[in-house]
């Protein structure tokens, strides 16, 4: 027979949860800046490499080819990483659920609505 959890533990845990996770926010800023600016720059480097390859001298052609290839690989990896992140999100900020003794037995996502007590 399943048993219910007490709501007291949930409320206590929820009240100690910070309004916003500063660490996650910092990660979002860094990852966004690196991926957003990085991908745009990588694409620019691909175009620059193509320019060297098409218009440059013999040595420049090779370096242009290499620049385009490396930038292309990095750009594709970044896109693949983005799609991976899209399909495999890290779990959202959890609220700890505790039993009557205060022992953490589960975590749940923070909800917006609750029943009137």
């Amino acid at each position: 027979m399943p048993q219910t959890l007490t709501t007291a533990g949930t409320k206590a845990a929820a009240s100690s949860t910070p309004v916003i996770d500063g660490n996650a926010l910092w990660h979002i800023i860094v990852v966004s800046a690196a991926a957003g600016a990085g991908l745009a720059l990588c694409f620019g480097l691909i175009l620059l490499g193509v320019k060297f390859f098409q218009e440059g001298q013999a040595g420049q052609k090779l370096s242009g080819y290499a620049l385009s290839a490396v930038s292309g690989v990095v750009a594709v990896a970044a896109i693949a990483g983005g799609i991976y992140m899209m399909t495999n999100p890290k779990s959202s900020k959890p609220t700890k659920v505790k039993d009557a003794q205060g022992k953490v037995i589960s975590t749940t996502a923070s909800p917006i609505l609750k029943t009137k007590s």
Partner: protein, 428 residues
């Protein structure tokens, strides 16, 4: 049982209607800059976006289950004994629960259509959240304001600012490279790049927004099955987790037919094209060039994906708007801050106004009694008439794909103007 079945069918139809409005309202997020730069013809752009929206709707259901479980898990802790179902489905069960979700959708759809008429990009997700809150409040369910603050309001404020900064820096750096590449080559190259970046944003949008409706329909199914005591069907949706004899949580599954219907509704909405909002996003905030559009879209995709990964659900509309403004700043082009101000005003009013409409819808339905389907039918009719009225008003001064095509051909000249205030003529 017949009453609840009628309400469930109405709810599914209205939810798909919301997904449809979401599709044409939020198409602009992904393709506006591509259309503005001529990287894609308007119709090609919305078809590309529709395709990736549909793909996005299928590749992950985490957002759908989060929407549904985030709501019902709040209504705990009632265990339906002998059936192992935790998370107070009783509070959102039956006709009453269906009417709450129904009213929420009405609020969200009407707000989407009103902002569409005024050519304002606004968040469909926030409209849905506002609708749920409004209906829940008048129905006597307490709103957990702290969670609303941390999960919705703060990300809504921070996300466009973060994207603005990222897009600004990104565009600044890209234009240093453009000098070395040459303007013509970079323009051609970045137009090709915009196919990729627009596809990424469309995919992210489909992953997030189509699934919100999936979550809502799943919530309606749970309310229905609970109301008519179809425990077997309910167990098919809710998978209960046990730990040492305790029910410690549950996970949700979204039926395949719900996924297909939602993907089709959003894809259809996207394919018809939200030209009014694409025009605002692509032409009225700032003049967009191909490298700048690419930088704005990649910055937007990066912010949306990283935020989703870390568990902060965002409005793609807010993020992309910030990206477009940031790209204008990065290129040191004129950004029309009065248009940005109108958009921000719309964002501020989205949750309260959708909430008010939903509350009124629930109150109207409640007049006919919680156990009656008549209330649901009445608000569905009112919604249909209102939607028709807004569409009629919009059709008196339409903005079409041909208008946007002409704007691009003219080299980003004067864009089609919006119908009336508050979307006044943009000035630098």
């Amino acid at each position: 049982m017949a009453t609840q079945l009628i309400l469930l069918i109405l709810l599914i139809v209205i939810a798909l209607g919301f997904d449809f409005t979401n599709g044409f309202h939020d198409t602009a997020n992904a393709v506006a800059t591509s259309v503005a730069t001529g990287a894609l013809k308007p119709r090609q752009a919305v078809l590309l976006s529709a395709f990736f929206n549909i793909v996005g709707a299928f590749i992950s259901i985490s957002v759908a289950t989060k929407i549904a479980s985030g709501l019902i898990s709040t209504l705990k802790t009632y265990v339906v004994k002998d059936h192992g179902i935790v998370h107070g489905v009783s509070a959102l069960s039956g006709t009453s629960g269906l009417l709450i979700v129904f009213a929420a959708l009405c609020g969200a759809i009407l707000w989407n259509l009103i902002t569409w008429y005024f050519t304002l990009p606004s968040s469909s997700s926030h409209a849905l959240i506002g609708g749920i809150i409004g209906a829940a409040l008048v129905a006597g369910i307490t709103v957990k304001w702290s969670a609303l603050w941390s999960s919705v309001v703060i990300p809504a404020v921070l996300s466009p600012v973060i994207c603005l900064i990222v897009a600004s820096v990104s565009t600044f750096l890209v234009y240093r490279l453009v000098q070395a590449i040459g303007p013509d080559r970079s323009k051609r190259g970045y137009k090709i790049g915009q196919l990729i970046s627009a596809s990424l944003v469309s995919l992210a949008h489909g992953t997030n927004d189509a699934q919100k409706t999936m979550g809502v329909i799943t919530l309606g199914l749970i309310a229905y099955y609970t109301g008519v005591a179809h425990w077997g069907s309910l167990n098919g949706l809710l998978h209960v987790k046990y730990q040492a004899g305790w029910v410690v949580g549950s996970s949700l599954s979204v039926p395949i037919w719900v996924k297909i219907l939602c993907a089709a509704a959003m894809g259809s909405g996207t394919a018809i094209g939200g030209w009014r909002i694409i025009n605002t996003m692509g032409n009225r905030i700032t003049e967009v060039e191909a490298p700048q559009g690419f930088a704005a879209e990649t910055a937007s995709a990066a912010v949306i994906l990283s935020s989703s990964y870390y568990g902060y659900p965002l409005s793609t509309t807010h993020v992309v708007s910030g990206g477009v403004m940031g790209s204008g700043l990065g290129r040191q082009a004129a950004v029309h801050w009065n248009v940005a101000g109108q958009m921000a005003t719309g964002w501020i009013f989205t949750i309260p106004m959708a909430g008010v409409v939903a509350a009124v819808a629930w109150a109207i339905a409640d007049i006919f009694g919680k156990g009656s389907a008549v209330g649901g039918i009445v608000i569905a009719v009112i919604l249909a008439v209102s939607a028709g009225g807004i569409y009629y008003l919009a059709s008196r001064k339409p903005i079409t794909a041909e208008d946007l095509d002409a704007t691009e051909t003219a080299g980003g000249g004067a864009p089609p103007s919006p119908p009336t205030a508050p979307a006044a003529t943009a000035t630098a």
